[in-house]
């Protein structure tokens, strides 16, 4: 394993920003791939990035446990020679260190700054420095989080658009792979720019974000290792996983709350629900009256569940994968 600082930036009144990366791999002669190894010259290479936002705790834990696992695999010679795997568990320690999701000063989102600019504002410079270190890999996995606070069934998002060469999202063996068309705001994400520059990119969504749940994290590590195995980065086989169901994100059925108040859910992600089944009640914040009953509009599985206890009118409280598989499949076409 090679640990190195890949990005540094002076911060006022604080230690400098210090982004660490952990690289694994040996060349065909058994020599450890050294500092500055160029992934684009290797047959296969993988980069896993987390913690671009400071509250992506679980994602960072996944990477940390992956580093631990890869250390053992490297020692047991389970990694395929000539392949490089680089893990960046926390790309934004400056925010994570103080419990902030976005950049401490101007609250900007680094994952809206790619490919960045070395001469730009602070977070554009960070994005540029980071992108220089994660470019050129065959495969890129960004452990990301959703812009709405909530829990998901573990899944991989695959973006259609520039640079799309192949979709091997099912190789993670997660319950779902979702496909989406990039919007204008997506063009500044790491995922989009990876694709634009020839990396086969995936966004990996864990069940939760702001918690350190080792059970959930190890499930995600196992999924990443299955992907590595399927893509020839390790000789080791990893059992378990799901038979992945692929769908277009637009096939997800949104469930909004009709009024503001306190949302009290009665189902969790992964629950199988029937049309008309109660999903949550909304109560008046002051007098406690039930002001709305939120019910499932279709048969299916709860895919997303908002975690904010206080909801506004039209808050997206749930997303459901409908049972009508044929209809869902049709949206992929």
């Amino acid at each position: 394993m090679l640990e190195e600082g890949i990005l540094s930036l002076e911060l006022p009144y604080r230690d400098p920003l210090d982004v660490r990366a952990f690289s694994f791999g040996i060349d065909a002669k058994g020599k450890v791939l050294g500092k500055g190894a160029d992934p684009s010259t290797l047959e296969r290479s993988l980069c896993v990035v987390a913690g671009i936002r400071g509250d992506e705790i679980l994602q960072t834990l996944v990477c940390a446990l992956l580093v631990e696992r890869l250390e053992k695999m490297e020692r047991s010679k389970a990694l395929v020679p000539g392949c490089l795997t680089r893990v960046i568990p926390c790309a934004n320690p400056a925010s994570m260190g103080i419990g902030r999701r976005f950049w401490p000063l101007d609250k900007t989102d680094i994952n809206r700054m790619f490919p960045g600019s070395p001469e730009g504002e602070t977070t554009r410079r960070i994005a540029a420095g980071l992108f220089a270190q994660v470019s050129g890999f065959s495969y890129g996995v960004h452990l990301s989080s959703f812009y709405l606070e909530g829990d998901f069934i573990p899944h991989v998002r695959v973006m259609h658009g520039p640079g799309e060469r192949a979709n091997h999202g099912a190789d993670f063996c997660l319950p779902y792979v979702t496909h989406y068309e990039p919007g204008s705001f997506d063009t500044t994400t790491l995922h989009y720019n990876w694709r634009l520059h020839g990396t086969e990119a995936y966004s990996f969504y864990t069940r939760k974000t702001t918690v350190a749940d080792e059970v959930i994290a190890r499930e995600a590590v196992q999924s990443l290792l299955r992907f590595m195995s399927a893509r020839g980065l390790t000789r080791q086989q990893f059992h378990g996983g799901h038979r992945t169901f692929e769908l277009a994100e637009r096939a997800l059925v949104p469930v909004h709350v009709p009024v503001g108040g306190v949302c009290c859910p009665v189902v969790r992600v992964g629950d199988v629900v029937g049309r008309g089944q109660l999903l949550a009640t909304v109560r008046d914040l002051l007098c406690g009256h039930v002001t709305a009953r939120v019910v499932a509009p279709c048969d299916g599985v709860v895919f997303y569940h908002a975690r904010t206890p206080l909801v506004n009118e039209r808050t997206l409280a749930f997303q459901i994968v409908p049972d009508d598989a044929d209809e869902v499949k049709a949206t992929l076409a």
């Binding site: 604080r14 926390c90 419990g99 401490p104």
Partner: protein, 316 residues
């Protein structure tokens, strides 16, 4: 000379540090200066108050330009809430309490309270201390010193030398006992709290004015022997001599007086506007005649927001 006063590790491995810069007479060792008078100047307690940074710049620039006049030790703590400063956040990130409410600190509670305790230990024994504050982003303040009547005997004579416009003596009942100044005064370190300027900004003239004032106090404490310009004689007032003006409407406040000048009773201080309808929602007038030493700096106001303070009320 830069040294750590208190260090705590963050979950990311970064260390949160309170540091200080030490300035002492040329050619003397740490041991030799230990018997000399010492002054401590802290700032950055509230991370969104930046005026103290420029005060330090102006002060240290003067100290370094005439090192032969340094007769004691000056310890400067530029950011006692370093994470708040870095994030331009008033409080300590990840901590709900105002740092200036947790003194004297404790080693049995949170890491932040332990850092407060470390700071108190480091300042203990000094001849004099300053805690430099700006105002919030909402108000602009004339340079002033706030002391409490319990410590007035040792702090008021120093405050009169500090080149401020106003010294505000608070009654015991309104004194906040969790402040750094309260703890240090209780420990026998005369501590002056300055408040000047506005949050998130630097006002150069404020920095120059307070730097001269601090030098003047350092001279009184035997730390500085250099030449001093004349300092202004402050007005001294108590709580009962300050009149307050609050908003009754919600809208955009636009002042129409010059800050820091005398105003007459009934003089229009400013207006609260509904800009979309070009309506004056409230015209705010000086409740008394006197020195306008506080004025709203942030335009958006809610009913009840403080607009101005005037020194000129009848003493209780």
């Amino acid at each position: 000379m830069l040294r750590d006063v208190s260090v705590r590790e963050l979950p990311t491995g970064e260390r949160m540090r309170i540091v200080k810069h030490r300035y002492m007479p040329v050619g003397l060792s740490e041991t030799e200066v230990s018997c000399l008078p010492r002054a401590c100047i802290i700032t950055g307690m509230h991370g969104d108050e930046l005026e103290g940074q420029y005060v330090l710049y102006e002060l240290i620039r003067r100290l370094r330009s005439q090192p032969q006049h340094l007769a004691g030790v000056v310890d400067v703590y530029p950011a006692v809430n370093p994470m708040g400063m870095g994030a331009i956040e008033r409080g300590i990130p990840q901590f709900d309490l105002d740092m200036d409410r947790i003194f004297p600190g404790s080693h049995d509670a949170s890491p932040f309270e332990a850092m407060a305790a470390d700071l108190v230990e480091d300042v203990r024994g000094a001849q004099v201390a300053f805690d430099l504050h700006a105002s919030s982003i909402y108000l602009r303040e004339l340079p002033q010193i706030r002391i409490n009547e319990e410590s007035v005997g040792c702090t008021l004579p120093l405050a009169r030398l500090a080149n401020v416009d106003y010294v505000w003596v608070h009654e015991s009942a309104v004194v906040l006992k969790g402040t750094f100044a309260y703890s240090m005064n209780k420990l026998g370190v005369p501590t002056l709290v300055t408040k000047a300027g506005v949050g998130m900004r630097i006002t150069p003239e404020v920095g120059e004015q307070l730097a001269i004032g601090i030098l003047s106090v350092l001279a009184q404490a035997g730390v500085w022997t250099g030449p001093l310009p004349l300092v202004r004689a402050p007005q001294v007032g108590t709580d009962g001599e300050v009149s307050y003006l609050h908003a009754d409407a919600a809208g955009m406040f636009v002042p129409c007086v010059t800050f820091g000048r005398e105003v007459k009773e009934g003089q229009v201080i400013g207006r609260i506007l509904d800009c979309g309808s070009a309506t004056v929602l409230q015209e705010l007038c000086a409740p008394v005649g006197g020195l306008l030493f506080t004025l709203r700096a942030y335009p958006l106001v809610y009913p009840g927001n403080l607009i101005a303070r005037v020194l000129g009320g009848a003493p209780c």
